[in-house]
Assembly symmetry: C2
């Protein structure tokens, strides 16, 4: 009876890693702050790819204040690898690179379009009626030379 009681107390204070390995969790356990008892899945996930020993080594090699971020990033990578066993989060990087290329290409097109519109918008002397209609339309008084200089950026 006493034995069960002791075991019960031990399990409630063990971190997820020590619980997984069915061992006592020492007060200075390197895993305890990052693998809490109530989320065993987090450790199972990173352990599947990196192994507890490698994770422990990585944590030991970095300052304490960076370890939580390191475990978060390892967990993210492990989740990506579960979702996409072939490419993992490198698949996400590839997809993001593609998105950046698309956005940059759209931006280049838009900038070329602006240059064209700008050139034709300001490339001739406005007639008085044209200036007036712009002021009427937009509610601000600007010439045709630099219509965006003050409000747009």
């Amino acid at each position: 009876m006493y034995r069960f009681h002791k075991l019960d107390k031990m399990t409630s204070t063990r971190c997820a890693v020590c619980k997984y390995f069915r061992r006592r969790c020492p007060p200075d356990c390197i895993f305890a702050p990052y693998f809490l008892n109530d989320n065993p899945q987090r450790f199972i996930c990173v352990h599947r790819f990196y192994g507890a020993s490698n994770i422990g080594k990585m944590l030991e090699e970095m300052p304490v204040q960076l370890r939580a971020d390191a475990v978060d990033s390892l967990y993210y990578e492990a989740k990506c690898r579960i979702q996409d066993p072939v490419y993992g989060c490198v698949g996400i990087i590839t997809s993001l690179h593609r998105q950046i290329q698309i956005a940059q290409s759209q931006l280049a097109k838009a900038q070329a379009e602006i240059s064209f519109l700008d050139a034709n918008f300001v490339g001739f002397e406005p007639t008085p009626s044209l200036s007036e209609s712009l002021v009427q339309q937009n509610g601000f008084e600007q010439g045709l030379d630099d219509p965006f200089s003050t409000w747009f950026y």
Copy 2:
């Protein structure tokens, strides 16, 4: 003398993984196609984080034709983790997300600028002299209603 000769022959045909573990490389070695003898660093790099056993398990669980890509992506992740032990390639993902946000914000600004220019460019009846000057300036005959419809995209 014979013994050295045999060992020499064995080492030359072993893959980088079997060479690392100083073992015979079987003809059906799961690592051999992806960890060639002449690039031991590639295996050392992934082994440091994942461990040979985990890499072997991952490879076994996927079709042969995807294994080369999987090893490449693991190698990429491992190199990222060496460069940035805390964030690994998750740091790259964060940076790419930021770049996409910047590009999208620039694109939104550019599109708003285009909308403004377009609205003021086509929002009134052009005088004959304005139309003529545009055709003269740009060398193509287009009305003011949709100046980009045919050549720009």
